[in-house]
């Protein structure tokens, strides 16, 4: 039946876009505060790894989720110290963290699980039984997942925090004009730290999704999602809702790619779909997307 295919498509699209969305909203918090964060890729990877590790040792997937968030925050804190306290080049810091995360997870994978490719299988999160929504065929798989439900809440909560709270206002102002915020007694470094650590927590949670979805850790499993998330953040014009929308679109492109596999279109072309979609959208459709004015610029108080 046709509509079953449509529902399956939607369900797959949503599942694919979960880690993108979490990382893209994380990136939004970081960059709104003025810190470019390409370390999202490494944070996803570390989050997935700490999740698997904690679940493996405790047998409790919830502990795993917490560990993923903690791992993400820890990774992001390195980026924060390097780029906010030491005012180093933020792209370089991010790249270094990504390379380090690749190497470190591979190393510990070998030491702990004795394999160069994947960990042992871990327990997944229990499914929830949500009334009404859980009764829709196929889509029930979406609404029974605690992480998907959490992501939906996070999208709206983030939009609220960024635009309706004093923290959000301060974050946006230190990303646009840190001198102005400073002149009003706002502690620029502290607010920027908060933005970067928050991005670590969110992208770490995205890592937890990757691990839970697959019930294991595999080497390099973030496979570029952090970078796609950055693109989604830009397409979404540094708004959580916009980022989520962009991620759904990327999810749709990937889902389409999977549905088309096995048809008589050459696979190389099919595999290009998500990337072509990214390029086309970035280049043409969204109009001008203007980053925060002080994005990537370290703040120095008494400039000499």
């Amino acid at each position: 039946m046709d509509w079953m295919i449509v529902l399956a498509f939607i369900s797959q699209m949503v599942r694919i876009s979960v880690p993108y969305t979490l990382a893209a909203i994380g990136g939004t918090f970081s960059e709104r505060g003025g810190v470019v964060n390409i370390a999202l890729e490494g944070i996803l990877l570390n989050g997935a790894f700490t999740c698997v590790l904690a679940t493996h040792y405790t047998g409790n997937p919830w502990v795993g989720v917490l560990a993923a968030v903690a791992g993400g925050v820890a990774t992001a804190s390195v980026h924060a110290v390097v780029s906010i306290t030491f005012k180093a080049e933020q792209i370089v810091s991010g790249l270094a963290i990504n390379l380090l995360a690749m190497g470190a997870t591979r190393f510990f994978l070998r030491i702990i699980f004795g394999s160069s490719s994947n960990s042992e299988r871990i327990a997944g999160l229990p499914e929830w039984d949500v009334p009404v929504l859980g009764d829709i065929p196929v889509l029930s798989t979406i609404f029974s997942s605690p992480l998907i439900l959490a992501t939906i809440v996070i999208i709206f909560a983030s939009q609220f925090v960024l635009f309706k709270t004093s923290f959000g206002l301060r974050l946006r102002s230190v990303g646009e004009h840190p001198e102005a915020a400073d002149s009003l007694g706002v502690n620029v470094s502290r607010v920027r730290y908060a933005g970067v650590l928050l991005s670590g927590a969110l992208a770490g949670l995205g890592g937890a999704w990757l691990a839970m979805d697959q019930h294991s850790f595999t080497d390099g499993m973030s496979s570029g999602r952090g970078y796609i998330a950055l693109a989604a953040m830009i397409v979404g014009k540094w708004n959580p809702l916009g980022a989520a929308g962009a991620c759904l679109m990327f999810g749709a492109a990937e889902s389409l790619q999977m549905q088309l596999q096995g048809q008589d279109v050459p696979t190389q072309f099919i595999q290009m779909i998500p990337y072509v979609a990214t390029v086309v959208v970035l280049a043409g459709f969204i109009g001008r997307s203007i980053p925060p004015a002080a994005d990537g610029v370290p703040y120095e108080k008494e400039r000499q």
């Binding site: 709270t165 004093s166 102002s173 004009h177 102005a180 915020a181 002149s183 009003l184 000499q304």
Partner: protein, 526 residues
């Protein structure tokens, strides 16, 4: 709380604010050197001094942005220690900075509440309540700001009023205004003064920095003069005059009037014929400009801000393409040439916005001094820039144009505003241009430097250069120009000889766009 003591009889001995022995050393300069400042409650206190005298630095210390190396401060007789602007704000001190501290994409209300956000239910920003309060303040003090407007869409004058609202919103008793009039048109300055008087009536104390001594005489109750980081004078406004202040500031007598001989007018250097151009928002802004500047003369362009002056300058320097009409430079058609080609033909440009168009703030002084000549000898070799020549050039320009400190390796942004301006003037004049386009050449510079820049503009004229001078300052136009063209709604509505012009006549033409006929005839006959 007891009612605040009325100023006058009770405690004239305890000033509202006392700063004592304040010193601050930067890497290369001692910006404040044991400076003392006493300000009485409810007065408007002017702070004047040359560029780089340390006025902004002293005020930044008072606002908690910089920490003094030594010295003490008292507010109402109590010693205060300021670790950050937050401390100053909680004591009722507010500051409007020389370069505004506004976040352009945010709304007026968001800018106003930033850092002191009113909350509902502990977390939610109460923007509605804040907007009400902004409206209230705006009405009480005749500030006319719209709480919902986005700051980047406001005029400079309106942005300044937002800064004032920002301070009042925090309940400030002491307002510091760092060169508020430098960026304002004469009309906007008048309305600022109305606001300041109203604030004073309400019992606020105001510190007001300016380079215009006429403003000091008009608005202030007392004056403090700074020089080289020290306070060199503390006077009642009523007991002093502009000459005395000028002498105190500069340390010598200053010529407030420029002396110039009659122009030796030569061939036509620049000629515009029926030039049309679009403005920033794609509306026709130049609507048929025709004018001519000869070698050896200064043509002043007078007009109310926003009548096409900016676009006119941009068209002549190649920064904006005219949509129709023609430009000729020394018999050569230059319509639509690029800024670099114009530069090569001998057009020099002192831009109105020094930070946007005049300098690269992060570059060093010596690098800024070769912008526009960086691609040719002696600064450019075959492959590399020639450091020695670049430094030698910097040293000589800094010396000739008295830019302080004379440090070629300093980033341009560390210079005080007036010294940045001298840097640009120095660079442009040392090109030995055939045509000099000077737009607001003395904005934000001290009287000593104004005298200096004016003398140099006249020296250029006497050398045979054609000078086009655009200025919002009518007295500057009147004292420098040989002829004055009045621009109105994108057209030149009349050109008068400066010997036959006065402020009243020009003012009429600027406001109405018509040449006052009888006046013109009368002047011609007499």
């Amino acid at each position: 709380m007891s009612p605040p003591p009325k100023s006058g009889t009770d405690s004239p001995s305890i000033p509202f604010l006392k700063m004592e022995g304040i010193s601050k050393q930067f890497a290369l300069v001692k910006a404040n050197d044991c400076a003392n400042l006493d300000v009485n409650r409810g007065e408007i206190h002017a702070l004047v001094g040359e560029n780089g005298a340390g006025k902004s630095t002293l005020m930044r210390i008072l606002y908690g942005l910089y920490r003094a190396d030594s010295g003490r401060m008292y507010l109402d007789g109590d010693p205060v220690e300021l670790r950050s602007p937050a401390d100053a704000i909680s004591l009722g001190i507010g500051m409007v900075h020389q370069h505004f501290m506004l976040v352009p994409p945010l709304s007026v209300t968001e800018n106003v509440v930033l850092g002191s956000e009113p909350l509902r239910a502990g977390v939610v920003l109460d923007l509605k309540g804040a907007a009400e309060r902004v409206k209230e303040l705006s009405e009480t003090f005749a500030l006319a700001v719209d709480p919902d407007a986005r700051v980047e869409e406001l005029s400079v004058g309106a942005q300044q009023r937002v800064e004032i609202v920002k301070i009042l919103f925090r309940g400030a008793r002491l307002l510091i205004l760092d060169e508020p009039t430098a960026v304002l048109t004469p009309q906007e300055t008048e309305s600022l003064f109305v606001i300041l008087r109203r604030l004073k009536e309400q019992g606020k104390t105001i510190i007001f920095i300016t380079h215009k001594l006429s403003e000091v005489m008009e608005i202030s109750d007392s004056v403090t003069v700074m020089r080289h980081g020290k306070v060199v004078g503390d006077l009642k406004t009523a007991e002093t005059n502009t000459e005395e202040l000028a002498t105190l500031m500069v340390g010598r007598k200053v010529l407030l009037e420029v002396e110039k001989g009659a122009p030796a007018r030569g061939e036509t250097v620049l000629e515009l014929k029926d030039v049309h151009a679009l403005g920033a928002s794609k509306v026709p802004t130049l609507r048929g400009i025709s004018l001519r500047v000869c070698s050896g003369e200064i043509l002043g362009v007078a007009g109310v801000q926003g009548n096409g002056q900016t676009e006119l300058v941009e068209v002549i320097t190649g920064l904006r393409k005219p949509s129709s009409g023609s430009l000729r430079l020394l018999e050569r058609d230059i319509t639509g040439l690029s800024p670099r080609e114009m530069l090569k033909l001998g057009v020099a440009h002192i831009p109105e916005d020094r930070l946007k168009r005049g300098l690269v703030p992060a570059f060093t002084v010596s690098e800024n001094l070769i912008l526009g000549s960086h691609f040719r000898p002696p600064f450019a070799g075959r492959l590399w820039l020639r450091r020695e020549d670049i430094f030698e050039n910097a040293r000589s320009v800094l010396r000739r144009f008295d830019v302080r400190p004379q440090a070629p390796a300093l980033p341009a942004r560390s210079l005080s505003g007036g010294n940045q301006q001298k840097l640009i003037v120095g660079r442009e004049l040392s090109r030995d241009p055939k045509l000099l386009v000077a737009s607001q050449p003395t904005r934000g510079v001290d009287i000593g430097a104004i005298e200096f820049i004016h003398r140099n503009l006249i020296a250029q004229r006497d050398r045979g250069c054609a000078v086009l001078l655009v200025s919002a300052d009518l007295s500057e136009i009147l004292s420098l120009s040989d002829r004055i063209a009045v621009i109105y709604e994108g057209r030149i509505v009349g050109t008068v000889d400066s010997t036959q012009a006065d402020e009243k006549k020009l003012g009429m033409m600027m406001m109405t766009g018509v040449l006052a006929k009888e006046d013109g005839n009368g002047a011609g006959e007499s």
